[in-house]
Amino acid sequence: MKSTARRQSYGVRGAPYDHPSRTTTLERARSAPYFFLLPATLLFALFFALPIGYAVWLSFRKVKVSGLGLGSGARREVWAGLENYTDALSDSELLHGALRVLGYGCIVVPVMLGLALLFALMLDSEKVRLAPVTRLAIFLPYAIPGVVAALLWGFLYLPDVSPFYYVLDRLGMPQPDLLDGGPLYLALSNIAVWGGTGFNMIVIYTSLQAIPAEVYEAAKLDGATPTQIALRIKIPMVAPSLVLTFFFSIIATLQVYNEPTTLKPLTNSVSTTWSPLMKVYRDAFGEGDIHGAAAQAVIIAFATLLLSFGFLRAVNRRQKQEAAR
């Protein structure tokens, strides 16, 4: 497959018909991809590679204050070695942030993907009514900015304006404070689940649609019930999409920032260091500790990459094992 494509894209080798300007065309065809990739490469270098490199450089430096820190030359940047890293790794605030995000992720990822799979299977089932309308409704939150979503739910969590509290009040039931303690995790997770389910549902639904009908017909002839078809055929066949959505959900979870930041004005329980990324922001811009923030950022990026590659390798290994069987 690859070798044919190579031959096709470079011009037909040994073809009977020799084009007059063949060498020049060939040369142009050789340099063309580099020319086409120039904008992306340039933008990548300027806005991805350079900042990452700069962050790494900053993370190994620190500001040394001599005397009282007054006058020019009193604040000097010097080499810090691994000092910023040891500081960051022994920082309990960063660790607590990481644990909070871990707890949050343990709620968001299974619930969101479970709902996405459930809705996708329901959409794909026979004789379902109102499928186009409900599919659109469930996908709709994807169009709503995370900040606005957090804002809307934030108001729905506020006892003074929330319909839930109104109903609970009329029923004479206890009214939990959704913006504090354990319920805060649920409140934040709910925003992420609400915003992400539809997108993942569409990804899974699309791959369900790609399963050929003959497979179902064969299963039905064998007497399989719709539930059995869903569990034994559909779910295993969409496993690659599930892996993909799982992967992207984990990465999105690690990067949680907008929702807790937006809820912050509504409650005192969300600290400025609730998630590790919020701490990076606070240290860099609130405290002016750019070097410490850079070291934390590098650690988070490294952990993300490690997790991603570990995950992809595990998936690849399983696929190879299955192919070998």
Partner: protein, 303 residues
């Protein structure tokens, strides 16, 4: 309930007229009901906050805290007037800014994605997979990790707090490049590129005149993705901008909410503002959802 109390009197009395004609076994009907109800519940959950904001936007400040949530109020026109009057219409400036960032940004970004995706799909050249993998690794970079040094570097170039500081870093979307590559590989046959070469067309001409028209449907999807991503972005402008004349709508609403926490009178402004901010994207969504190539969404293009 009462029909159940009379056993077997009218076997089909409780069922719907359409169901009475259904000769299939009752089990299958019941299973078709479960998916429909599940999907309706899901739709209800997803529409609830939207329905809430539509109704809450019609309430005056006093009604917001005193009347039942899902009862429409009387203050919608007044709320819009207040919002427009707030700081000489800065709200509409935010909307215009968002349209500019998202419109221009998505357009440029789609062009870059298209040309890169095409090159990665059609040509075989040294370093192809390396370039692709390095670009894709960009997806994994948490935005804060990029945005903090991006801010520091742009500050050195004296570009922070400008339109460019929000526009430029968002032109390259690794995910868009990935989608464009998949789409170009599926939509542009190499024979056609080869035929163009035989006729003596240059590589750039082949791309713009032959390949790009074939890629248009996929690029519409990429454009929409980038548009939504830029419109919804909060962190980058939050870090880059300090002058609220240049804020996009997400950042504007956030600052409004922050101030509103101290002055509840601003709550109605925040709610009305959130309602109006949701409208353009929902409208865009409804108009174009029929054009969305759902296959592309999951990266599962069939050739």
């Amino acid at each position: 309930m009462s029909s159940l109390a009379v056993p077997q009197a009218e076997p089909r009395a409780g069922s719907t007229p359409g169901a009475a004609q259904d000769s299939r076994p009752p089990l299958r009907r019941r299973i078709a009901l479960v998916p429909t109800v599940t999907l309706l519940l899901g739709a209800l959950y997803c529409l609830l906050p939207v329905a809430w904001v539509v109704i809450a936007a019609t309430k005056s400040g006093r009604e917001l805290f005193s009347t039942f949530t899902f009862l429409p109020g009387t203050g919608f026109a007044a709320n819009i007037r207040d919002l427009t009057a707030y700081r000489d219409g800065v709200y509409w400036q935010w909307m215009a800014n968002s349209a500019l960032y998202a419109g221009l940004g998505a357009l440029l970004s789609t062009c870059v994605s298209a040309v890169s995706g095409y090159a990665l799909a059609i040509y075989r050249f040294r370093g192809r997979e390396t370039i692709f993998n390095v670009l894709l690794a960009g997806v994994l970079m948490p935005p804060v990790i990029l945005a903090v040094p991006q801010y520091l570097l742009l500050a050195k170039a004296d570009l922070t707090d400008s339109y460019l500081s929000v526009l430029l870093p968002q032109i390259l979307f690794p995910y868009g490049v990935y989608l464009a590559r998949i789409y170009a590989a599926a939509a542009v046959p190499t024979d056609v590129v080869e035929a163009g070469r035989m006729d003596g067309a240059g590589e750039w001409r082949i791309f713009t005149r032959i390949a790009l028209p074939m890629m248009i449907p996929g690029m519409v999807t990429v454009f929409l993705f980038q548009f939504v991503a830029i419109w919804n972005n909060f962190l980058l402008p939050y870090i880059m901008l300090s002058d609220d004349e240049r804020f996009p709508i997400t950042l504007g609403l956030f600052t409004l909410l922050e101030q509103g926490a101290n002055t509840p009178a601003l709550y109605t402004l925040v709610i009305t503002g959130a309602f109006l901010a949701v409208l353009p994207l929902v409208a865009l969504f409804l108009v174009i959802q029929r054009f969305w190539s759902l296959d592309l969404l999951s990266g599962a293009v069939k050739s």
